[in-house]
């Protein structure tokens, strides 16, 4: 079928379903499910060209989302919540990783479950469990027009999670490698490598952000500022992809720098916001289409244990973390539910595991399978948390 026709039909079908379901479920979920049905697992309707675009598109969409999240990092917001939310997300990320790792290890060593390399498997699964999905979370927040302190906490936390996730993941892979292949643990490597990655991401984003601020001084009109912002987000995403930085962090810093220093930033963020919906729709449909449900029966008990432990880790980790940083009660009660979605970042980690430890390839399958579950349960959890915390204004 003609590729343009294919895309047109895809957009319309997805939109129609999302439209009729939107009172009950977040549209992201509809998009993912439509993708699942039309994708390679079932109908195989989607043109293969789009499926191949997956990795570029996901980098790009993550970058756009992070850029828009950067808008929440206006100085007066950060002053109030910045340190607290960083501390909170560091705590809950680490907590989830520890709960999942120790829980799995307990199951392995007590003889309930059997695997070849219990320690490394538990560590690596723990590390991927920390990752969340800013994209899906952000979409639900946007669609439900959620606002308030809970939303601010949530958006900052999901974004910082990426940094925390990278550190934990790098840390765990170094230990796992030492356990599997021998050799000492080079502490410098454990600490320096992730910090480098984060540092470069921030630098890259800040540099592009300053450039954007500078250019926008000379450009006032709508079309120009939109084109230049798109260019900057593309560059942030592309450079991160090329040099192995985090596209999320660099685009977020780009957005934050621009939000704080750019005089026209409020308007520009609105333009970008108008531009992105079709892109996001396509992205979620394709990520749904790429989910391989034939993996589901293979999850087994390890997968189930991993999913349950991760949910516990997130919910209790956020609860404890919020108590420690003295966040408002609604944050303490509901933040964990909002942070259940998992997607691209976790899949990325899973792919890395496959490359680094070929004999532990089944971990990749487990993570990918569980991602299907969290992609479906996650948005519902987020919506539930937003409703309960009173972040959604009643319909006018």
């Amino acid at each position: 079928m003609d590729i343009v026709l294919n895309l047109g039909i895809l957009l319309l079908i997805t939109y129609i379903f999302a439209f009729f379901a939107r009172e009950k479920v977040p549209s992201v979920l509809t998009y993912i499910l439509i993708g699942l049905v039309l994708g390679r697992s079932i109908a195989n309707f989607i043109d293969p060209t789009f499926m191949q675009l997956d990795s570029l598109l996901s980098t790009l969409v993550l970058a756009f989302i992070a850029f828009e999240i950067g808008d929440t990092f206006r100085w007066q917001n950060v002053k109030q919540l910045g340190i607290k939310s960083i501390a909170l997300s560091t705590f809950e990320g680490t907590f989830t990783a520890i709960i999942v790792s120790t829980g799995l290890m307990a199951l392995f060593y007590s003889g309930i479950l059997h695997v070849a390399h219990p320690m490394p498997v538990a560590l690596l699964l723990g590390a991927t469990a920390a990752a969340t999905a800013p994209a899906a979370t952000f979409m639900v927040v946007k669609e439900r027009k959620a606002r308030g302190i809970f939303t601010d906490y949530l958006l900052m936390a999901v974004t910082f999670d990426d940094a925390v996730g990278i550190i934990i993941f790098d840390f765990c892979t170094v230990i796992a490698r030492a356990l599997l292949y021998g050799g000492g643990i080079n502490m410098a490597e454990v600490i320096v490598a992730p910090l480098q990655e984060i540092g470069y991401s921030v630098l890259c984003g800040a540099a592009l952000g300053l450039l954007l601020v500078l250019i926008c001084r000379y450009i006032q009109e709508k079309e120009g500022s939109l084109l230049v912002s798109i260019a900057m987000v593309l560059l942030a995403a592309g450079l991160s992809n090329q040099f192995g930085f985090s596209p999320l962090l660099s685009a977020m810093v780009l957005g934050a720098v621009f939000a704080n220093l750019g005089k026209t930033s409020k308007r520009v963020f609105q333009y970008v916001d108008e531009w992105t919906p079709p892109l996001f729709l396509l992205f979620f449909v394709i990520s749904g289409a790429n989910l391989d449900i034939s993996l589901l029966p293979q999850v087994g008990l390890i997968g189930l244990a991993y999913a349950l432990l991760r949910a516990c880790g997130k919910i209790f980790g956020d609860n404890l973390g919020a108590t420690i940083v003295k966040a408002p009660p609604e944050v303490r009660k509901y933040l964990g539910f909002a942070m259940l979605p998992q997607a691209g970042v976790a899949i990325g980690f899973a792919m890395l595991i496959k490359t680094m430890f070929p004999e532990l390839g089944y971990i990749t399958t487990i993570v990918m399978t569980i991602v299907i579950i969290f992609e479906i349960v996650g948005p519902i959890g987020t919506q539930y948390a937003l409703e309960k915390s009173g972040s959604i204004e009643k319909a006018v």
């Binding site: 343009v4 939109y15 084109l227 560059l235 531009w275």
Partner: protein
């Protein structure tokens, strides 16, 4: 290089260049030149060059849809017949000028080649609307010249296509191909017009129904459904090999007339990026090396075609009694080439092996027109005084 980086650079460089030079050179030409340079440097990713077709289709579809307000309601009734008449007269006039000119030229050079002259003539009657339409938008033009040119640019594709289809069948017969041409000659024009109207109307009704259903007019819904329908309509038109432009235009007209809702306003945000990419890729795909080989024919073609367009429009405008400004200036907005004509030339050179030079000639001419047309269009806009915005 990572394709995202290249794409980012394309946006940044093209926009900054157009911002810096936009005062002196029309920005679509800046984009084309940036495309030529970046294509030469190999900065434009391969995958983007290949997706030219999809981008062109989408851009064409959006252009036609955004045009529809011009043709909404009374405008269409008042001007429609006149526009079509001018466009038919002007296309036929250009066809005959180029055809007879080349007959004379081939006669002088001693290689009598009627089929080539016929095909060159039919290709010359086609116009690429993007350049003029973008400039109308850029200058925010309003007035009779804008209305007439817009309508004519769109109908031109249809009249040009019909001429081409007839000529193609005739020249095939002349070259001894064993196709029964009569049926095609008789039916093709009817299908060329009826099919777009039918499909465009159906899609337009469906989209306006959508707008009524989604009565909260959520911005995201409007954007997604409109884009979806443009892609759908353009895709169907392409699959049936009927005019994409006319089909989407008719869809837009139906929507404008049936619903009060201004969807075009929301779509505006997509036009900037789409135009930029479209023209940069067009520039990157221009093969400048082909020009030296065939330059005498190219130069004659360009001169004859320009003459045909400008004076054909003048004659047409006089005959139907259009405002003076239309006769005087509209021809200058219709010079661009480099869309359907290249596709058709490509088709000819594949279908009729003797005509393989056709693509070279049309590509060369398109390159020249692509450079001339932005200037002549701008001249026409400024002379007519219909511009409202200082770009």
């Amino acid at each position: 290089m990572n394709p995202l980086i290249s794409l980012g650079l394309v946006f940044l460089i093209a926009y900054i260049a157009s911002h810096l030079f936009g005062r002196f050179i029309p920005s679509d030409l800046v984009y084309v030149l940036v495309g030529v340079i970046l294509g030469f440097l190999g900065i434009i990713p391969e995958s983007m060059m290949e997706s030219e077709y999809a981008i062109a289709l989408l851009t064409m579809g959006m252009i036609a849809f955004l045009l529809s307000p011009f043709l909404g309601g009374g405008n269409l009734k008042d001007l429609g017949a006149k526009m079509i008449t001018i466009s038919v007269i002007e296309s036929l006039f250009t066809f005959f000028v180029v055809f007879l000119g080349f007959c004379a030229y081939f006669n002088i050079t001693g290689s009598i080649d009627v089929p080539s002259a016929l095909l060159l003539g039919s290709l010359s009657s086609l116009t690429s609307p993007a350049v003029a339409l973008m400039q109308f938008r850029e200058y925010g033009t309003k007035g009779p010249l804008t209305k007439y040119s817009t309508g004519m640019l769109v109908f031109d594709e249809v009249s040009g296509l019909i001429i081409f289809i007839i000529v193609m069948s005739v020249s095939r017969v002349m070259l001894g191909a064993s196709v029964s041409p009569l049926r095609n000659v008789a039916l093709a024009p009817i299908i060329e017009i009826l099919a777009p109207i039918t499909i465009g109307t159906l899609c337009g009704l469906a989209l306006s129904w959508f707008f009524e259903r989604a009565n909260d007019h959520n911005k995201d819904s409007v954007i997604i459904t409109t884009l979806g329908f443009i892609l759908l309509t353009a895709g169907i038109a392409k699959a049936l090999t009927i005019s994409v432009l006319l089909t989407t235009l008719i869809m837009g007209i139906v929507v404008v007339n049936r619903s009060q809702y201004d969807a075009a306003a929301h779509l505006d945000v997509f036009m900037g990026p789409a135009f930029l990419i479209f023209f940069v890729i067009a520039g990157a795909n221009l093969d400048l090396e082909v020009i030296p080989e065939a330059w005498p024919i190219i130069i004659i073609y360009v001169a004859l075609r320009a003459f045909g367009k400008i004076f054909g429009t003048k004659a047409g405008a006089m005959i139907v009694g259009a405002p003076e400004v239309v006769g005087k200036l509209a021809g200058y907005t219709m010079l661009a080439q480099g869309g359907t004509d290249i596709g058709l030339a490509f088709m000819v050179s594949v279908a009729i092996p003797q005509m393989s030079s056709m693509l070279t000639i049309v590509l060369g001419a398109a390159a020249i027109f692509e450079i001339i047309a932005p200037f002549t269009t701008r001249m026409a806009i400024l002379r007519s005084g219909e511009d409202t915005i200082e770009p």
